[in-house]
Symmetry: C2
Subunit: 216 residues, 2 copies
Amino acid sequence: MDDIMIRNIVDKVIKNLSDQSEKEEYLPIEASARHVHLSKNEVEGLFGKGYRLTPKRELSQPGQFLSQERVAIIGPKGMFKNVAVLGPERKNTQVEISRTDAISLGVDAPVRESGNIKGSSSIFISANKNMIEIKEGAIVAKRHIHMPPKDAERFGLEDKQIVSVKVFSDRPVIFEDVLVRVNKDYRLNMHIDFDEANACNFKNGVKGQILTEKGK
Amino acid sequence: MDDIMIRNIVDKVIKNLSDQSEKEEYLPIEASARHVHLSKNEVEGLFGKGYRLTPKRELSQPGQFLSQERVAIIGPKGMFKNVAVLGPERKNTQVEISRTDAISLGVDAPVRESGNIKGSSSIFISANKNMIEIKEGAIVAKRHIHMPPKDAERFGLEDKQIVSVKVFSDRPVIFEDVLVRVNKDYRLNMHIDFDEANACNFKNGVKGQILTEKGK
């Protein structure tokens, strides 16, 4: 074989590989159970002056951890005990529940992007013998994708972009209106809540595929 | 205007109207809460010899009714009280729950088409002081569309066909793998369960649109 033939073959192999990588837009997915983020103020209100959350294990997003502490969340119609508290402490306390949870608790939690709690539902939180009310902060987390910049580049997406995601389960759905959040500290992962997880019969290991407007 | 001109105009108007009707593929949707269908045998086991269900109000599907009777359903991890019983009596007892319910109850109910209960989960049902076990019959109902033949013709669909349905809510999803059931006694309606309803923030009046393979 001469050089030109070899070069042609190499070109074809490279093209083939890059075509394939374009197709490999598979997303890991995680289902988030109900959980609570607490501010320092609320940590102290529930666990005592000077108290800090105790990490139990790391979560998929770097720096985030499941704490050893557990709380109850309470609404006019019900309560959930033994709810996970995620650390580290945040600026504002935020309670993330599903619509099903919201109905059980009797709170009207809106679907919101994490951090956007203005005017969201009030809720009560208790631990040990302490019980506090947060005036706002109970939300249903809007489904979203954590994405580091290198993946954003690969997918051709930007922070705050809205995409659809097809879930390859045995009860397949396409989630529209999925928020892309790009940050260098993120690990690639789509987060859905348990209503969404159950609606598509999600099991660990089930993957998604991003459908942009073009691909719809 | 001569006859031919008028005929051309009429043809255009008719074509326009039929184009529009093709676009008007909007589907009414209903969310089904957990409920129970009982066989005569089980009605008697729960409510006494010779007992028959008492209709309380008619449901969207002709001939089907919500009965005045209520039951509890019980699994190894939990129970739900005050569960609706739908009539009339069926050949086989069937308990329809969501995945969320199945997890709460601790039963492994498979996603199944109504009536296909072979090998599905066992569950206990109680009413008054009676409690019975059904060996199989607890399922998560596969999402489906009840469709009379005239609508099937309009949509170009057949009994047992699988379609996708886009839901026009403020948390929009496309449900894939939706079963079409055609029967002259049906009224056009898509049925989803509460996990699916909550995943798309369904409210009464939210409509769907059938996407066939062609339209995907």
